[in-house]
């Protein structure tokens, strides 16, 4: 699994490539902690290249959401594959997260 980070003005965009599962989610968490420590206010997680996310991956995103909300930051998700999106629906998390079809839409909304 690979995580790349880039910036669009004050927006931090994380692109994740590969499955997020019990083995890889601690790595995702570690990267997120860095953002939380920096108190990043606008975060986009692009999941275009994630074909599967298990419950540890979902829990990692939930924890990230809790922490960013704690200091007034915002985290939004984009480009979810159909299978990944259905996992958010099954676990009712689609109501918890702001989910966008494309990264451009999130960034435009943030601006």
């Amino acid at each position: 699994m690979q995580i790349t980070e880039r910036k669009d003005n004050d927006i931090v965009i994380y692109s994740i490539k590969g499955d997020i599962d019990i083995n890889s989610s601690p790595q995702v968490r570690e990267s997120f902690e860095k953002l939380v420590n920096e108190k990043a206010m606008k975060i986009v997680i692009n999941l275009a290249e994630v074909s599967y996310i298990d419950s540890s991956g979902l829990a990692t995103l939930v924890e990230m959401l809790k922490k960013t909300r704690g200091y007034g930051g915002k985290i939004r998700l984009s480009n979810l594959a159909a299978k990944v999106r259905s996992l958010f629906e099954i676990t009712k998390l689609e109501k918890l997260f702001d989910i966008y079809d494309t990264e451009e839409q999130v960034c435009a909304d943030f601006k």
Binding site: S25, D54, S56, L58
Partner: protein, 266 residues
Amino acid sequence: MQEKDVIVEVKDLVKTFDGRTVLDGVNLKLRKGETTVIMGGSGCGKSTLLRHIIGSYVPDSGSITIFGKEITSLEESEFDKIRKKFGMVFQNSALFDSMNVEDNLSLALREHTELAEDIIKIMVKMKLELVGLRGFEKLMPSALSGGMRKRVGLARAIAMDPEIIFYDEPTAGLDPIVAGVIDKLILDLGKKLQITSIVVTHDMKSVFSVADRIAMLYEGKVIAEGTMEEIKHSKDPRVQQFITGSPDGPIKFFMDSGGYLEELTK
């Protein structure tokens, strides 16, 4: 259905206990995302078959292939990697009575993963929500009804996001409504999470509620295998007798009475 979808394949499996042949050449294929019910009367070998698939028993002969690997001769450490993809729902729920619900669900995650405790807590809430028991985290198993214990057992079985769940008599000892709830959960989890399920049961209502495919085991052999409709319309009188629960038919429940009086008086 293409052959590549088969994730468990049992071939010519034979097991004998103390001279009694319990499995007598079992052949069975389990396909990804499907719920297969193994049905049959008490003592027909269905639980023994299940224990072979999960690696608790070694067969006398035959093979079992799971995810393309032959498991009967696999090193324990190699088999452990496959076992992590299994979830197991036991007949008696098998909860640890000294641990609360949250700890019962967390145990495998703490033992087998590097996940942080905060992440595990969130996962436990998600699993309990799936079985309708969120809010029961701090209760001890002794405070739960039989049906609730069974649901906790189910939540624990999915704690590690398994690819296959094995259910051993999941509705045994439950009232019809609670049994229906468990059947619905088995169905929901299979369909929603795309989990392959193997259910061992003799509860016919449960069989026809949850099965995509059914295999009937009798005297250590699979005597019928097919979809629900194929089994319902099977011409095999043994299958029909089992479905209708008739005491009369080719399946005998009593020993031949010959020699009874002689045995009493000898």
